[in-house]
């Protein structure tokens, strides 16, 4: 078999290419979807998120007047009921940031999208969760109340320097005008258009003061402390929590899982289905290709099979030897394909593919650098099309052996 390149090299190459593509595509899709899920969880949705029922229905408008009140007691009861989760208050708010000149007149101003999180509690994980240390371009993170981080692009546009004082104009929870001065301590760039457009980051306590909601927050995000997002576990937590709330109360808190927010469920399910569909297509396409290769090989090996039949080999034995060959081809091709595919996935995991040029005007929370991801199942997934397709191809093409009439062997082997 090894000496006959048409029986070994060609099918092995076909399998290796198919498996490499399957592994690479699966790793790529997995990486992209995990990144999308992870980024959305970190920045926006949490693994679960608690809002008031009314806020949840209007959350695109950032309605701080529909925020949750009594946050401290709610968080305490959440910690008791679900100790496996970390619970964090977050707030989103809109407004205008004014940058004064030396004479305290407005030098420039622009609309901003504010995000408040816990910067100041000792051992807080929120800055790391939001990847702020890595996103810092200039300066440092807020270390006391009254300090603010500004998006780097926004800062450059308004020529903001570290230590400058800026003023945020907005409205309080009760609808009054709010003003608050902050000192700029740093600038950030997340590399995501949706996060870098006029972003300001302040401590949650400053936001509560500014928006006049001392024991309130617009969102409480829950994160599983020991694992990545597990939909079944989060569903169970959300169901338990929501069962205790009054469904008639529009200000009652409601918990939503990551998949229930921002159409992420559909996106994740679609991605999983597409991933399975791609693997299926590859299996079928490769099976057809290998079937054809097998048929061509069968035509080419027609004489060999005739000789083997004349020499007294059983048809079943011949068929089994074909299948065994196909399994060997499948395994070798799959191993080679796996190596090639994983190399590609590793490259894309380590170096990524910069798509920031395409994401300049995107409002979706998608990473600007696409990264694939090596997961344990990738080591197995390539063998499915690799082995299945070769075996299926050999099974189909090998049927011809059983149709062969020994009575015509002398005539067939004369030419």
């Amino acid at each position: 078999m090894l000496r006959d390149k048409n029986r070994s090299l060609l099918p092995v190459l076909i399998v290796a290419i198919g498996v490499a593509l399957t592994v690479f595509l699966s790793g790529y899709l997995r990486g992209v979807m995990d990144d999308v899920t992870d980024i959305n969880a970190r920045f926006e949705t949490g693994h679960v998120k608690i809002m008031t029922r009314s806020y949840a229905e209007n959350k695109d408008q950032l309605p701080v007047d529909l925020a949750i009140l009594g946050v401290d007691s709610l968080r305490n009861s959440l910690k008791k009921q679900f100790p496996e989760m970390a619970w964090e208050s977050r707030m989103r708010f809109g407004g205008i940031l004014d940058v004064p000149d030396a004479s305290r007149n407005s030098r420039g101003q622009g609309p901003v999208l504010g995000m408040a999180l816990d910067f100041l509690t000792p051992r807080t994980k929120e800055p790391e969760r939001m990847n702020i240390p890595n996103a810092m371009v200039r300066g440092r993170m807020p270390q006391r109340l009254g300090e603010i981080l500004v998006g780097e692009d926004f800062a450059q546009k308004l020529k903001i320097k570290m230590g400058d004082q800026v003023t945020h104009f907005g409205s309080t929870m009760s609808g009054s005008l709010s003003f608050k001065n902050f000192v700029v301590t740093g600038t950030v760039r997340f590399g995501m258009a949706a996060m870098d457009r006029g972003t300001i980051l302040v401590d949650i306590r400053d936001a509560q003061t500014m928006l006049d909601m001392p024991d309130g927050t617009s969102e409480i995000l829950g994160y599983a402390t020991e694992s990545a997002y597990q939909d079944a576990q989060m569903q169970s937590i959300a169901t338990m929590f929501n069962a205790l709330q009054n469904p008639q109360d529009e200000f009652a808190p409601v918990m939503q899982t990551l998949k229930q927010q921002n159409n992420l469920g559909e996106l994740i399910d679609y991605s999983a289905k597409m991933s399975g569909f791609y693997v299926f297509i590859f299996v079928m396409a490769m099976a057809v290709v290998l079937w054809n290769t097998g048929l061509l090989g069968g035509v080419r090996r027609y004489k060999e099979f005739g000789i083997r039949l004349a020499l007294g080999e059983f048809k079943g034995h011949m068929y089994r030897s074909l299948l065994l060959e196909s399994v060997v081809v499948g395994v070798v091709g799959s191993v080679i394909g796996l190596f090639i595919g994983l190399s590609g996935v590793y490259y894309l995991q380590a170096y990524g593919l910069d798509i920031s040029g395409m994401m300049e005007n995107s409002a979706m929370l998608i990473p600007s650098v696409i990264r694939a991801k090596i997961t344990p199942d990738l080591f197995v997934i390539g063998f499915i099309p690799g082995l299945l397709a070769t075996t299926l191809g050999a099974m189909l093409s090998g049927i011809g052996i059983f149709k062969r009439q020994t009575a015509s062997l002398f005539k067939e082997l004369e030419v």
Partner: protein, 237 residues
């Protein structure tokens, strides 16, 4: 001492469907071959030579009548049993040598023994013995495309003889050879026939082959026209 009968055909008829009609390739053939015969089936194309070889070689079954080869009723054999009969007791030589191109001479000859699951040491000894019979030991590791026509057919003989079959069926074995090589091949086969007492049955219309045969069965239109035994006929050179 009676010579052992190894093939008996009784009233063998073979018909093939041909559109809506039937073509009769063999009609009521009665024939017997004995151990050690060097016989030939001779006749024009369509006379039934190959059909007769097919039935004796357990590659086909008669439509009616009975064919008994080495005590086994061909019509009653399963696919596996007829393959087993070919594997153990029957050798075939074709007009075209039909060597497997990716294998060496040694491996081509060895192939038949692999199907018998013969142990490696014994296999090696047997293969070299067969190559020695045909004088090709030196070419054991050559590929078929490096052999001359005569050498190729000698490998085919070694492959057919390596399992020491009781019967060797040869379909026009000299058709693709020049006169010198044809004689060399025929001398080799005659020598093996004498030494191993293998029964050789040829299908041929080559005059050179006929010069070596001890028995010639003339076929015409599926019937035996003449069954002649040639005694003390000098070998043609």
């Amino acid at each position: 001492m009676a010579i052992e009968e190894i093939i008996r055909l009784s009233e063998v008829t073979k018909r093939y469907p041909m559109g809506e009609t039937e073509f009769t390739a063999l009609k009521n053939i009665n024939l017997a071959f004995h151990k050690g015969e060097f016989a030939g089936l001779v006749g024009p194309s369509g006379s039934g030579k190959t059909t007769l070889l097919n039935i004796m070689g357990s590659l086909d079954v008669p439509t009616t009548g009975e064919a008994v080869v080495l005590g086994q009723h061909i019509s009653k054999l399963s696919h596996k049993a007829s393959a087993e009969l070919r594997n153990r007791h029957l050798g075939f030589i074709f007009q075209v040598f039909n060597l497997l191109p990716v294998y060496t001479v040694y491996e081509n000859v060895e192939f038949a023994l692999l199907l018998q699951n013969m142990p490696a040491q014994e296999r090696k000894k047997t293969v070299y013995e067969a190559l020695d019979w045909v004088g090709l030991t030196a070419l054991a590791h050559k590929k078929p495309d490096k052999l001359s026509g005569g050498e190729g057919q000698r490998v085919a003989i070694a492959r057919a003889m390596v399992k020491r079959p009781a019967i060797l069926l040869a379909d026009e074995p000299t058709a693709n050879l020049d006169a010198a090589n044809a004689h060399l091949i025929l001398q080799t086969m005659k020598r093996l026939n004498d030494e191993l007492k293998t029964t050789f049955i040829f299908s041929t219309h080559d005059e050179k082959v006929m010069g070596y045969l001890g028995r010639i069965i003339h076929l015409r239109d599926g019937c035996i026209e003449l069954d002649e035994t040639i005694k003390n006929k000098p070998l043609q050179r």
